[in-house]
Symmetry: C2
Subunit: 409 residues, 2 copies
């Protein structure tokens, strides 16, 4: 007998028909002799509907009330799933974040879990009941008010509960059937991965493969919760996100990610002396803009240089205004912004012990005449900034070049 935590996203419970399918699957999981806790998101579209109403009533809705508002969507779907399971002959009970003992900090709309008191969940499980949990929410440890965990927070609820219960597995049901070597809409022979490491998954998640909330993967890695990503539409075997093992290290590159939500800013002819770059990036950070790839050219004369960096595309205009103001103060040259850029990345734990990955990546792009505008690397990832129009070509070429269409290991 295993203890299984499942999580069903918004499209998985997006209609009464879907709720029925999910209820059946949860019941069958119990009938196989398992204890089951299922976390549910709000029905697809509900959260957006509530946000839209709030924004029509207020330009800056108060965070505390937003959390009260948005947490209702998950309460509704958890009640409906439990009601359906009770109808089809199993016993289920719906619990809110509070009732699951999920205590967070007091940062409304993006709270972080501080602790989980799993006593009540265990009582229901011991009573042979299925526990349905309203995802995405907890309560603040100082005020007792409802908090929410940010977009995609139900993933984090699920993995955190799985960690607290020491569950055997956390199954994340979504509308795709696993993690692929590249976006299947771009690469027709992209292959579903059977296994991937937490660190690779985090790189892929942050690089734009929107299957799992990054924080849930961090949680999974920290507490070593095996996470299975699979589809509630096919129920086929999915991708296991797990600890790194020998087998994974044999594979050089696991996947190709791409992210079009990029813009590149450049400031020319800046005085090349200590403190100048710091001043620029301090100003940008103060506006809550995340800077990603930074390139500073070596200056010919050691006196003046150009600095460029990338930001999320939505923040490009704001960053551009800041940069123009700074250029005046710093007596620098021209300032420019380019929104027609994209980032492509190769990810794999194996590259730590396999040199030459970067070289192959650059060669591949070069052979397609794709210019590289910036480069950033980590231990298990190499990212290149390119012109947006080449994104699909780059992803396909890299996928082929690294042999990702072929089953390995």
């Amino acid at each position: 007998m295993a203890l299984i935590v499942q999580k069903y996203g918004g499209t998985s419970v997006g209609s009464l028909e879907r709720i029925n399918i999910v209820a059946q699957h949860i019941k069958e999981t119990q009938e196989k002799g398992n204890k089951v806790v299922a976390i549910v998101s709000a029905m697809a579209g509900e959260t957006d509907k509530l946000i839209k109403m709030a924004k029509e009533l207020s330009k800056h809705p108060s965070d505390r009330e937003m959390d009260l508002l948005l947490s209702s969507g998950e309460r509704i779907s958890s009640a409906l799933v439990a009601i359906r399971i009770n109808e089809i002959g199993a016993k289920a009970v719906a619990l809110t974040g509070r009732q699951c003992g999920i205590v967070t900090d007091e940062v409304h709309t993006k709270a972080r879990i501080k602790s989980i008191n799993s006593k009540r969940i265990f009582e229901h499980l011991d009573n042979n009941e299925i526990v349905i949990v309203a995802g995405f929410q907890g309560i603040s440890y100082t005020t007792g008010d409802v908090t929410t965990l940010g977009r995609g927070g139900s993933d984090t609820t699920a993995v955190a509960i799985a960690a607290a219960l020491k569950a055997d597995v956390c199954e994340i049901y979504t509308d795709v059937d696993g993690i692929y070597t590249a976006d299947p809409r771009i690469v027709s022979n992209a292959r579903k991965l059977n296994k991937i490491s937490y660190s690779e998954m985090m790189e892929l998640a942050s690089l734009g493969a929107k299957v799992l909330q990054i924080r849930s993967v961090e949680f999974g890695m920290k507490y070593e919760v095996p996470i299975m990503v699979l589809s509630s539409f096919t129920f086929n075997p999915g991708t296991l996100v797990t600890k790194e093992d020998k087998e994974m290290e044999k594979i050089v590159v696991s996947g190709i990610a791409h992210d079009k939500n990029q813009a590149r800013l450049k400031i020319n002819d800046v005085s090349d002396q200590p403190g100048v770059a710091a001043r620029i990036f301090n100003e940008i950070a103060k506006s809550n803009i995340n800077v990603d790839m930074i390139v500073q050219n070596v200056s010919d004369d050691g006196k003046r240089t150009d600095i460029s960096f990338t930001v999320p595309r939505d923040d490009a205009e704001k960053a551009f205004e800041i940069l123009k103001r700074l250029a005046k103060d710093l007596n620098a040259g021209e300032v420019s912004v380019n929104k027609d850029v994209a980032k492509v990345s190769v990810v794999g734990v194996g590259m730590r012990s396999h040199p030459g990955v970067a070289a192959r990546m650059f060669n591949t792009l070069s052979s397609e005449n794709i210019n590289i505008r910036a480069i950033s690397t980590s231990e298990i990832k190499i990212s290149c900034l390119i012109d947006e129009k080449y994104t699909e070509l780059a992803v396909r070429s890299l996928h082929e070049s690294f042999g990702l269409d072929k089953e390995s290991a």
Copy 2:
């Protein structure tokens, strides 16, 4: 400076436009120097939508999960109203039933309030904040689970909170602008009452004038909370429901009520001996059917008699089946059901000291050739069962006969 509790029903907060109007009115109430607590219902239609989903998923949805489901509607509207008030320049905080300290028994879907701990509400009021309360809900004192107070429960939340806070007045905003001497859709010169006693209001509420939930009036009477019923569409002065006073006693009849949700059942030729009637009404009660007017004819020979009684129309078929079964057991005669009946009633605390009200009522109906099929009376009410088709005629005749169109006292 007064402490004012307000309650806004589903149509009052039925759209974002309505929420804006309500938010403005709450803010203006505070600006006049008052402390304000406002209880809100779910947006019109929301509760029905949630019930419909649950019923599609289950023939008998579990009560505990229904309460979690249905309480969400009020959480949403309370958050939206608070968000709007914060936008227009006052300070508001939305509280759930739990956060208002509303503790109930554990009877899900029709819980009764056991106590209210008003500490947190007072803290916010002392902080110059407006408190917006999600109506209709509390928490069970044994399990801590969410409970709901039954249809119209937000009225009871409002009056109970007003009692706990010792508020100066509880204003119930709805889509009508007060209590009338009769239904204005039937009697064109029906008059809005300035004042009415709790006991009269209870009789009117139970007789089919659906303005206030009966339990909220009971609460108001018990704790002497002045209740003002008024419209959130006109904000005109409404009707004050209050303690009986000398002035009210001068008025013989305050209003005419009618109720078409009636059916009359009859069992003929029953043995006229102790225990037979008890057996019949025990069986009916076991099926949770409320019996209202009971008529047992005096038998000619002291041996056999006929018994008739009324039930809500929806329960007529169920009661009919029970009665047919009993007739066989009791060796009684024919059993019949008539759904084309209605109840008209005259209500007034003044009738205690003014004899002749019943006589005038019977005379008025008789002069219109309306047959009386059953009669029931209380200290401040006389009800007659008549054929449904005469309802409007009866109400209009009685309204005129008792001079209700003329302003008195």
